[in-house]
Symmetry: C2
Subunit: 432 residues, 2 copies
């Protein structure tokens, strides 16, 4: 079944707003097995909107319009679509009651009431957050135009609560979908390992690149949920087998969420001493509600003086090896672990750039150390090829640090630091 | 002059990628005075792409296509547009030389060479980063189709170096544009203060909302740069006068960039002690290259024990007032300033939520303290209305902290902390 999206809003054409709505709707359409063939963006202009809807109806069974449902005069989508579909606007009592509830004791302004007018026969999608309900408008015998609000905070809950069940019913099937999240392997290598799995049609297996990570989605469609899961689960298991330990979770929000949850489960605590990442690891950990259970303190030891005073790195070590060295990373990890009384300590030191590199220690060189009661682990990131920029060096370094904690907590192999003969445990470093 | 954008790529229709390209191109079109009337997204499909280009050429003088210029078989844009414009593809020697340079000593694969084929008469835009050049293809006497690469890292430099000068020449005018960045005033109040200024047409004055901030752009068009500036500058001055101290800079990248630059200019240093912001302030400061000149150390004192051990907050103060209190924020700011030997110290403590609130200290309550040799300043953020979520509480708290430093460094008023009678200096708090 073919679908099209029409995004309505002059702010999109002026470049003031990124059109994330279309991305969210597109993803849901793909998950529900619809074939999105085109997206159009038009401004708050009735003539151009009408032209766009007409063109879309010539091609697609389902047209999804986002934006232009609000109470002001430039919100034209509802009126334009009703006129085009030849349906009068009628008051929807449920939507009106919801508006009264939203306004509580305050009087309900007349322009707000407009939002409870829906084209005759439309199926309303209640708005859990804002004032404008969405709806599915029938066009002729077998086409639908879905009207959805533009603000992402209103759109996203409505997609889940209203649109997904509607599409499921429309398409006569149920989707089961799993997302495996991967750190430490590129999309190219993952696709090569998955081989012919990605050519299947039900379940589909799709890889995509994230922000220094990658993801693999397995999606199956069947008559009911149990049958869809039964199709998807063996393929997911095969994906996990082929990719191995680089998969840090399935249907999890992020690497840091996995780390915080696993620390909490094991009743362990972590402390951090960051130089080049400058607080990024601490921030990612404390992004998680409940991080205080597992994270008591972090140090941002940017200056050498701070490394010595706060993390106990000996001054002569800094002089002998330099601040960017395996020794200093390890001393930071051990120092912060000890002073914080934590189970695990992380130390990160490197050259995020763009300045500060030397031939021996190029921009992008980063040492990440993890220490616990049993020993110490060290990862070296060494730039290969083009310098990816300060922001990417910092983000990847933070992700590697979190990945080392994850591996250690799960009993997976981590690069071991052997006290003397340190170089031998750094087989070429990780590709940055 | 009317323009349309066509974004090409199946990944956009599957929702794997957000279409930021269209936003960047849209912004540049607006800045150069072109009127963008429509954006279309199509997949890697020659028939649909051709249909989209034909439709756009019926409406617009300039059509900008992004994506589908690479070396693989599903990169169809160049061939499709050449066929549609009735122009043969010819080898562009400059683009070929650039490809040879990119590959260096490695052999140049045949499929890569395709990228140096441009429609006859096209004006090439060199690709400073990747392999596929862009170009402007003439269609008939007075229309153009611009072909640009899809990866944002390649598109953005080409927009500035190639497309902006091309559009400037095409439109026969020059744009002068200034962006005033605002923290601490909502878009609604700013628009009310600016009043009729936003109704002007040359210069235009437009407000838009950012991430907990807002921006005002002043854009003027004239025959040459000096004339455009002469139109824009008095209006910019009026914008700055009407908005006052909430404008933290004009044509600056961010609040943290202003703070780091001003610290460096004054030869001053800053140290931070963060609880609820969990390293976010340190991260934003160390995002700036050269931050090490002004920032030696930051503490993430999440646990009370860490507040005492690292920032010197007395245990009895924590017991008497609680960790989320003006007194503790001040003690953190003073403690980290003293231990780090910094000129300024910041302390932040609060309840980011979603858990942990009480009737007296609700979720979203945050105290931010700034200390220097002359005294101490305190800002209280108290949620009014709906709780905006953990992420927003943390981001706004970090921005308020940076704003206090900016104001203090610039000699602007900051909320003063008077030792006894503390409550009197907190007139209702800041709206979160």
């Amino acid at each position: 079944m073919q679908a099209e999206i029409i995004s309505v809003g002059t702010e999109l054409l002026l470049g003031h707003t990124v059109n994330t709505d279309a991305t969210h709707v597109a993803r849901m359409l793909a998950e529900q097995g619809l074939d999105l063939v085109r997206v159009q963006i038009v401004g708050d202009n009735a003539g151009r909107l009408e032209e766009a809807v007409r063109a879309a109806l010539e091609r697609a069974s389902v047209v999804i319009a986002t934006g232009g449902l609000g109470p002001t005069d430039d919100d034209l989508t509802r009126e334009t679509v009703a006129r085009l579909a030849g349906l009068p606007l009628e008051e929807d009592s449920g939507s009106l009651a919801r508006l009264h509830e939203y306004f509580g004791d305050r009087p309900l302004p007349a322009n707000e009431c407009r939002q409870a007018l829906l084209p005759r026969g439309a199926r309303p999608f209640p708005n859990a957050v804002g004032t404008a309900p969405g709806c599915a408008v029938p066009v002729g015998r077998d086409q639908w135009i879905l009207l959805l609000p533009g603000p992402p905070g209103e759109l996203l809950p409505m997609l889940e609560a209203g649109v997904r069940p509607f599409l499921r019913e429309l398409c006569g099937g149920v989707i089961a979908s799993f997302m495996a999240r991967v750190f430490g392997m590129g999309e190219g290598e993952a696709a090569a390992r998955l081989g012919s799995l990605t050519a299947g049609s039900n379940p589909t297996v799709a890889t995509y690149a994230g922000d220094g990570e990658m993801f693999v989605r397995v999606t199956a469609k069947a008559a009911d949920h149990a049958a869809a899961r039964a199709l998807a689960e063996p393929v997911l298991a095969e994906v996990l087998r082929l990719l191995g330990h680089v998969v840090y979770g399935v249907d999890v929000p992020s690497l840091e969420a996995v780390v915080v949850a696993e620390l909490a489960r094991q009743g362990k605590s972590l402390a951090t001493a960051e130089s080049c990442t400058g607080g990024l690891i601490a921030r990612r950990i404390t992004d998680q509600p409940g991080a205080s259970q597992v994270f008591g303190c972090g140090l941002v030891t940017y200056a050498n003086e701070a490394k010595t005073r706060l993390a106990g790195v000996p001054e002569d070590m800094l002089r002998a090896h330099g601040a960017v060295s395996p020794q200093v990373a390890l001393a930071m990890a051990r120092g912060v672990r000890e002073s914080a009384g934590a189970d695990l300590g992380l130390g990160v030191t490197g050259i995020a750039g763009p300045g500060g590199g030397t031939p021996q220690k190029p921009v992008g060189l980063v040492y990440i150390a993890l220490a616990d009661a049993q020993g110490a682990w060290l990862r070296e990131l060494r730039p290969q090829g083009q310098y990816p920029g300060r922001d990417m060096v910092r983000r990847l370094s933070a992700s590697h640090a979190l990945d080392m904690v994850r591996r250690r907590l799960s009993g997976l192999p981590v690069e071991r630091w052997e006290e003397p003969g340190a170089a031998s445990c750094l087989p070429g470093g990780q590709r940055l």
